[in-house]
Amino acid sequence: MKDTDIKKLLYTHLLCIFSIILSIFIPSFFLENFSILETHLTWLCICSVSVTAVNLVLYLVVKPNVSSKRSSLSYKVTRFLKCCIYFLTSCFFFHVIFVLYGAPLIELALETFSLAVILSTFTTIPCLCLLGPNFKAWLRIFSRNGVTSIWENSLQITTISSFVGIWLGAFPIPLDWGRPWQMAIEGKHSISLCTRHGAWHCHTSNLILVTIVQGMAHLLHAWSNLWLRGWPCYFTTLDILE
């Protein structure tokens, strides 16, 4: 049982990372002028959709929690609608947090919102998949000693590292190194907004870029963490828990 769980977890993570990498390369076959730096909004949409899809598929295939007893159609529909509402709420919630963090209120609102969407994809959707629209269970996961299974542990680690990643993404914003990736994003918006020193207006776009880097990093991190925790302790801790 443990063995299969850990294997499943490993493949889940690999697939997630794979989907992000694919979302970088695949669209360039279909779309003209596609590049991460210049059409970053398109790419973000594709990335978020693909990550969502992979999460959903994995959830349906792997079924880590088999607790739902009722299986009537109406129940499923309500559950799905609830999930959608939760997702939208979390998007708006993150948007508000970003604005409180210093993102401009009106200009670049689209970028800010897409950042909120991508953050929700990385955090809310796994929660929804694993725990369902049960906010109290979410709160339980993110407290000390609240984790019960290896799946929840993975969820905790990935979500927290997503937040840390998006937070770290803000750090290159004030720098005026003039590196290509900074310049490209700055050039995309009007020069008057993103000058060499006053790059703060490019808050969101920079955040997006670095978040994606961090998004991959967090998945890698989670995977390695699980690997470290999972395999050596395989015979001891996890069995006791079970």
């Binding site: 210093g102 109290k136 709160l139 993110f142 407290s143 000390r144 019960t148 000058t195 060499r196 020193h197």
Partner: protein
């Protein structure tokens, strides 16, 4: 006694920091006084006749002009080797091909074809090699430093005497005489790429072509000067003092023959400022007053006259004029400032008088003075070079030893703060070892200094201070090492790394990046918001926000968190969101850093006077007054909430009546200031008089309020009543044997209370009269109330110094700090009588908030952002820059530091209150479970009312721990500030070659250092205030006992007196004082509401 030693220790630590800062400053920030004297054409620089052609009139002031026109081409960052001629490669040596070498071919051709017309020099620029300073040097001939102290050091024009001024004052004709051009391309190319980039070659070729075009058009009486103001490093930067940065090219060309001899193989190395006196004399102008450069002697030779003797005489006379001028400057300067070395000055003066006498001799006996002539020129040159060396020594050289020493001292002091503050949290902390080594070290240092002074060694006051600091620090650290270090490992004294440490590290690292300093106005709120979110998240993580039933999992019952939730989740989240909102709103008040090119400062920072639209102005005025009223109301509400508003003491009366008066005065002043232009002409005098008097009145009221507060700081309401207001405990019926531990916990106190009441009832019956009961209200918040009042009183005069709309920021500031205190209270664990701890994140959050408020009140750490208008608040029109106006401007700039340095005491004082807060909530929570559900809502609404018995009195009950907590708080705050200073210092010394060192890092260091000084003084004053309140409370207790003695309550007062004195002697052993009193029949009710 303990409190005095706390204060002394904090003062000593501050002194250590000051000594470190001063030592570093003396090595890093080179200062020089600017003189405003001018040389004039009519007035020769010294006694004696003017040499050839000097007639004291325009065109031939001190010397006859040799050129009537000058073309001065300044090519920014034209390094010497950019213009150096390339020799044809010698066989055997591989040809060097670098992009910048040999690109100025035209210059090379000129030098080779016309050796008597053109000359290339290697000009040595003096550090700092920044463009502004170099241009100043190239016009004034002096050694500009970063801080040229004068009447106004944020000026955009040069106030010293300079070439341009001399030109404009002496020359007036229709034709052009002087053409000055400044090309920035080479410098930009260097900064953007580096000298090795192909772009540099292109740029240099372009410059060469430009010079070629110029030379073609030159007339016979024109002198062409091409010079670079400084060089550049390998990476294309400049600002420091390395060889590559200081060597600039200097190229002279004249269509007439100018030089008597062919150039040497290697171009001569001359100081850059030699150009100034040379050009002045060549154009027939007086040499600028403050020049210390030496003329290039060879251009003054007589070419037509082939006799070498006349040539030498001409050179000598030019040198002599120059020397006279330099001597006059030295004389004036040393009378104004004392920063030049006295002995060296005397030596140079002697040298000058000797050379001058020789020169006079030469003039009187023109024949047969070959030998004299041979000595005069070297003597004069020796004098001029000596002066220059002396000036460089004191004005233009970083002293790396001092910088390193200052940084090391700061680092050691930070370490000391860390060590002692950690040590103070341990229960075994005692004050003895704190002061002894300090005192002995200080006295030792004093004796050493005295000895040194008596032996005649003249030392800098900075060095003396630093030596005293080191002398007292070393014994302390040694003692600390010997006494504690041996017992336990040092690592246990250091705090565990956590997220807060990471944030502190990020902040530390941010000081090393110019981008982060420029955008610090946004970085500080970012970190603050992160810290707040982290706090809320951690509360949740530790399970303090939610009831345990949510968190416990039925399967894993043993993992259930032990403690009940201490804080309601909505409350904490609400506090966090409120804080975030406050910070975001305060971020709207933003002033741009001068290095941000496209950025517009918030219009909210400008005074209302500048608003044109009357309607908008009125609306804003209304908003400002509204903010003022809200500020007043919130302070009153706070005092009312804690009951301190009921006290009949004078400070409270002042708060009730004086504060609204101050608010009224402020509002009236704003009205006058914003509408002064619209006043009818008849009332102008009245308005201007009132706008001077009103701020003075407000400041006077605030001062009197503070005095009242210091005089009677105890704001409690005492009611002595006979017949105790018995607290009747309602006994809920309980039947059957207690089955569980919870039941026992519930039943036993009930029984105790019942018995207690029974006894008391009996006692009352036996005595004829009821027992005397003294009810002291608001004793629980007596410390906080004093500090909050002091802060409010301070805030008003500071508010007047800012623009009107900053009042909104002040309101946000008070709100923000209140919310933060509440949020921090949620995270502080309960330690009932033991040592109180002030957590690191709380202190760090305070420091961050102080920084944030510095920016939101419209400041930036640059000199151009200083709000000079503050100097004219409450001061009648006068143009002088007095100490008062300096004080006003300083108060304006560091208002946030003052308030926030003071605010930690409200935390110092509030921290036990905050310590108690969760404790109360816990008690209440446990009660809640037993109460009928109907009462639950009510109990939540009034948490303090149920049991808020002691609050800050808990501090008084453990004076030892109180002192330790105060010390700990002060040291932690100093540590966080000291780390910032240390980062600034390290950044400034490591990046002293950085392009922006004088624009960003040095001003940041200055502002940070000033802020530190203001904060530390505020800290000490605040702790003194807390001590004053403590002393007053003690005397109040004593008085209470005395009055009871007079009342004749023998039985109770003996016990009371004994209780008080014994408690003082052994703080830990005796139960707290209130229980003593209660047992003896006299009860003190802490902080009950009337």
């Amino acid at each position: 006694m303990q409190k005095i030693s706390v204060l002394l220790f904090l003062a000593w630590v501050s002194f250590l920091f000051y000594a470190g800062i001063a030592l570093f400053t003396s090595g890093f920030l080179l200062t020089r006084w600017e003189l405003t004297n001018h040389s004039s054409c009519q007035e020769p620089p010294g006694p004696g006749a003017l040499p050839w052609g000097g007639r004291g009139e325009p065109g031939a002031c001190w010397m006859a002009s040799r050129f009537s026109r000058l073309v001065l081409v300044v090519i920014d960052a034209l390094r010497f080797d950019f213009a150096q001629p390339q020799r044809s490669p010698v066989s055997g040596e591989p040809p060097v091909s670098l992009p910048f070498l040999g690109k100025m071919g035209f210059l090379q051709r000129l030098l080779e074809s016309q050796p008597h017309h053109a000359r290339l020099y290697q000009a040595k620029a003096d550090p700092p090699t920044t463009t502004m300073q170099r241009l100043k040097a190239l016009t004034t001939g002096s050694l500009p430093t970063f801080v040229d102290a004068g009447s106004n050091f944020a000026s955009s024009a040069i106030v010293e005497d300079n070439l341009i001024k001399q030109l404009s004052s002496t020359v007036d004709s229709d034709e052009w005489d002087v053409l000055i051009t400044h090309f920035l391309g080479v410098d930009h190319c260097g900064h953007k790429h580096d000298p090795y980039h192909p772009e540099m070659a292109k740029k240099l070729t372009q410059m060469d072509k430009m010079i070629q075009g110029l030379v073609k058009r030159l007339k016979n009486d024109t002198l062409l000067v091409v010079t670079g103001d400084h060089g550049m490093t390998i990476s294309g930067n400049h600002g420091g003092e390395s060889e590559l940065e200081t060597s600039a090219a200097l190229f002279l060309y004249s269509p007439r023959a100018l030089f008597p001899s062919a150039p040497a193989e290697e171009p001569e190395i001359i100081p850059q400022i030699s150009l100034v006196p040379t050009l002045a004399l060549l154009l027939g102008l007086p040499i600028p007053f403050g020049n210390i450069g030496e003329v290039i002697a060879e251009v003054f030779s007589e070419i037509e006259d082939s006799q070498p003797r006349f040539s030498a005489l001409a050179q000598a006379s030019a040198l002599h004029l120059n020397a006279q001028q330099v001597s006059r400057f030295l004389h004036t300067y040393s009378a104004t400032a004392q920063d030049l070395q006295v002995q060296e000055l005397h030596r140079l003066q002697k040298l000058f008088s000797k050379a001058s006498a020789d020169y006079q001799r030469l003039l009187q006996s023109p024949q047969g003075a070959e030998a004299v002539l041979q000595t005069v020129i070297p003597e004069l040159q020796q004098f001029l070079r000596g002066v220059r060396a002396m000036c460089i020594e004191s004005w233009a050289r970083f002293s790396l030893v001092r910088m390193a020493g200052g940084a090391a001292l700061l680092a050691a002091t930070c370490f000391l703060c860390l060590l002692v503050s950690q040590w103070a949290t341990s229960p075994a902390f005692y004050f003895g070892p704190l002061l002894k080594p300090t005192a002995s070290g200080l006295s030792g240092a004093m004796v050493c200094a005295g000895l040194l002074a008596s032996t005649g060694l003249k030392l800098d006051s900075m060095v003396l201070g630093a030596m005293a600091a080191v002398g007292s620090l070393l014994p302390f650290l040694w003692k600390a090492w010997a006494s504690w270090g041996s017992k336990r490992p040092l690592a246990s004294l250091l705090p565990m790394p956590g997220p807060v440490l990471l944030l502190l590290l990020i902040r530390f690292a941010g000081f090393f990046s110019d981008s982060y300093i420029i955008t610090e106005a946004r970085v500080a709120p970012f970190l603050l918001i992160s810290l707040i979110l982290l706090l809320v998240a951690r509360l949740h993580w530790e399970g303090k926000l939610l009831p345990p039933k949510l968190l416990s999992i039925p399967r894993l019952g043993f993992l259930t968190p032990a403690g009940p939730p201490q804080y309601s989740a909505m409350h904490a989240v609400g506090l966090g969101v409120g804080l975030l909102l406050c910070i975001r709103l305060a971020g709207l008040f933003y002033r741009c850093h001068e290095e941000t090119p496209v950025c517009s400062s918030s219009p909210l920072l400008s005074p209302l006077r500048s608003t044109v639209d009357g309607r908008t102005k009125n609306l804003w005025y209304g908003a400002c007054v509204g903010a003022l009223v809200a500020l007043l109301a919130s302070v009153r509400l706070w005092l009312h909430c804690y009951g301190n508003l009921k006290s009949p003491e004078p400070p409270v009366l002042f708060v009730r009546w004086g504060l609204p008066l101050m608010g009224l005065g402020t509002a009236a002043y704003w009205a006058l200031a914003s509408g002064a232009d619209e006043a009818p002409p008849r009332l102008r005098a009245l308005v201007s008089g009132a706008s001077v008097m009103l701020p003075r009145a407000v400041a006077g009221l605030a001062a009197s309020g503070l005095m009242l507060l210091l005089w009677r700081p105890v704001t409690v309401l005492v009611k002595a009543t006979t017949g105790a207001p018995r607290t009747r405990t309602v006994l809920t019926p309980f039947s059957g044997p207690p089955t569980s531990q919870a039941d026992l916990d519930y039943v036993v106190p009930q029984i105790y209370r019942h018995i207690q009441e029974e006894f008391r009832g009996r006692l009352e019956r036996t005595k004829s009269q009821g027992l005397l009961t003294v009810a002291a209200y608001q004793l629980g918040s007596v410390y906080s109330a004093a500090v909050v009042m002091a802060l409010t009183l301070l805030a008003f005069p500071l508010l007047l110094l800012h623009a009107e709309r900053i009042s909104l920021v002040f309101l946000l500031l008070f709100l923000q700090s209140f919310l933060l205190l509440h949020l921090l209270a949620a995270g502080i664990p309960i330690t009932t009588p033991g040592p109180f701890t002030v957590p690191w994140h709380a202190v760090f959050a305070w420091a961050l908030m102080a920084t944030q408020t510095f920016y939101t009140t419209g400041h930036q750490p640059v000199f151009s952002a200083i709000q000079w208008h503050a100097a004219f608040v409450g001061v009648s029109e006068s143009r002088d820059f007095t100490w008062l106006s300096a004080f006003l401007v300083g108060a304006n700039t560091f208002a946030s530091h003052i308030l926030f340095a003071a605010l930690p005491f409200s935390e110092a004082v509030g921290c036990p209150l905050l310590l108690l807060w969760p404790f109360l909530c816990e008690n209440q929570g446990s009660q809640k479970r037993r109460q009928p559900p109907g009462n639950e809502a009510e109990a939540r609404v009034r948490p303090e009312e149920e049991q808020e018995p002691r609050m800050e009195m808990r501090l008084r009950d453990a004076p030892h721990h109180f002192s330790a907590a105060l010390l700990q708080l002060g040291l932690k705050y100093l540590f966080v500030l000291g780390i910032q200073i240390l980062a600034c210092v390290l950044a400034a010394s490591i990046l002293r070659r950085h392009l922006l060192v004088w624009k960003v890092f040095a001003p940041k260091f200055i502002f940070e250092a000033m802020g530190f000084i203001v904060s530390s003084v505020g800290l000490c004053l605040g702790i003194a205030l807390v001590m004053r309140v403590d002393g007053a409370v003690s005397s109040w207790f004593r008085q209470l006992v005395l009055t009871q003695q007079k009342a004749g309550e023998q039985s109770s007062l003996v016990c009371t007196g004994a209780g008080l004195s014994a408690r003082k002697a052994q703080p830990h052993l005796l139960p707290p004082c209130s229980q003593d009193l209660l047992a003896s029949g006299t009860s003190l009710f802490y902080n009950s509401r009337s």
